[in-house]
Symmetry: C2
Subunit: 306 residues, 2 copies
């Protein structure tokens, strides 16, 4: 079982408007709400690919109930903790004129020490039954930067961490199996060069660093070597959720014990399959199957990992 | 008691962002939610001025519960009907850069015939105990254009109608005491001139027509004469809610049996007091008291009302 952790799960609301005009009043057609947050998106992708997956994190209040109901409706097993503070919403406004998506993300609930203690107990129990754990996304306002590090310290199986800023730096030091920063998130290391930044995170404690670089594909710095992987063609669509699809592929690969080049090819193809679909957490399986054999994976100079 | 009816009540959510950039992802700080919809705003203003007011309409689901809880917290007596379909939300994004407000209004719940029958029963009971009834705002998607006309036909006391489009035209024919269109809403009559448009609505059946024209004040066409009323100075602030404050003044004036010139002066001053406050339903009482003696009310040629 792959366990995904979403400490700041969200109820994602999408509105369609003919065109977004700042300062105007828009009649907004809501096109449904669904469970979101990066770990939830990872769980959705893994579930679509037939993996045994379970989603946990915090999902309180009315929004939390809607998140849990949506996961149940999607057939995704969940074990969310329900604090009294309500889960956040995200509002995405899609302009029908040009297809652009404008997002408004609430910061999330303010959790108490009791909420955290309750969750840590639940996490220990779930992680002990998992093959791989995925920790994804921002921390809600009440949690300290070392929250992921604390969970990683108590994780008996390989863990994949996808977060940013101080929680990424503190988390990397707690020796996760893989961290997956994107180009912007690498900047927290203070290194401008992606490879140098990835090596910095590995020296900090991460077993491997897989950096996603949008259309430029992935760069991986691991104990077994360094690789660059890229899609065979430019991708068109909505990049939201591509990073979560990449993490889903890494989790599936780690669970299966696959070699790095195969895992990276899978991650690039699955990211591309997410770009082909408008909603984060969805993947176009036709695109995935077509591209997975076409991804180029190039081994980089061994001495890069010094 | 003044009864306000809000068939499409809303839970108003406001987000603050540093600047609204279409296509970008924003960290949105929610600055609270509150009960909204035009009739709710009218009730809020009347309550602030010390009137005995009661609010009704539809408020179902989690959003409806939040609307009712917010009214209770504000000390406003409510008797909303609770259909199974949830009340809508409105999301307003305020840019801290320039103060502009960009609004996204959901259409509202799809109501059933049972919901409507249930509400009509409740309305009869409440209206029979009211001195004045106020019917405000858009209709939720499930209701026909003659919904207000049906309520007006069963209203034993003076009623004030503030809506637009076909519900305004059908409502005017059901002989409300006053209708309060704004400049845009007058266009439904097919007349370009505001006075001609107001006379058209009066010939359709409305006892009086008070047309709000933003900074140009009000034009009133009544059985006792025609007037123009305007503020003594230009107003700066947020015009959202000015129309609802105007309706609150009309309701208060009708309940007190005040003469039209006094009612109109009150309506202009209270509208200005709403412009001075950022949230619809709030009025600046200092502005109101200062301006109410300074509003100019000019009687227009008597033969205008032909």
């Amino acid at each position: 079982m792959i366990l995904t952790v979403t400490l700041n799960a969200a109820l994602d609301v999408t509105y369609h408007v003919p065109a977004l005009v700042p300062g105007a009043t828009h009649r907004a057609s809501p096109t449904g709400t669904r469970a979101g947050g990066k770990g939830v998106n990872v769980a959705r992708v893994l579930h679509a690919l037939g993996h045994d997956v379970q989603a946990t994190g915090f999902a309180g209040g009315d929004t939390g109930a809607a998140i849990r109901a949506d996961l149940a409706a999607s057939g995704i097993r969940e074990a969310f903790v329900e604090p009294s503070a309500a889960a956040r919403r995200t509002v995405t406004v899609v302009s029908e004129q040009d297809g652009t998506a404008t997002a408004f993300n609430e910061p999330g609930p303010r959790l108490s020490i009791e909420d955290w203690t309750w969750f840590v107990g639940r996490y220990h129990e779930l992680a002990s039954r998992a093959d791989v754990v995925v920790l994804s996304g921002s921390l809600p306002p009440g949690l300290p930067d070392h929250a992921y590090a604390q969970l990683l310290g108590a994780t008996p199986v390989p863990a994949i961490l996808d977060t940013s800023g101080a929680p990424l730096l503190e988390g990397a030091a707690a020796r996760p199996h893989v961290v997956k920063p994107n180009a912007d998130e690498l900047a927290v290391t203070g290194e401008a060069d992606p490879l140098a930044a990835a090596r910095r995170l590995r020296s900090a404690g991460a077993g491997a660093v897989v950096a996603s670089r949008g259309a430029d594909g992935l760069v991986a710095v691991t104990g077994e070597g360094c690789w660059r992987a890229a899609a065979p063609e430019p991708l068109h669509g909505n990049p939201t959720g591509a990073g979560d699809a990449c993490v889903a592929a890494l989790a599936g690969g780690v669970a299966a014990g696959a070699p790095w080049p195969a895992v990276l090819a899978d991650a690039v193809a699955l990211s591309a399959a997410a770009v082909a679909r408008p909603l984060a957490g969805d993947v176009d399986t036709t695109t995935y199957r077509r591209l997975v054999r076409l991804v180029s994976v190039e081994e980089l100079d061994a001495d890069l990992d010094r």
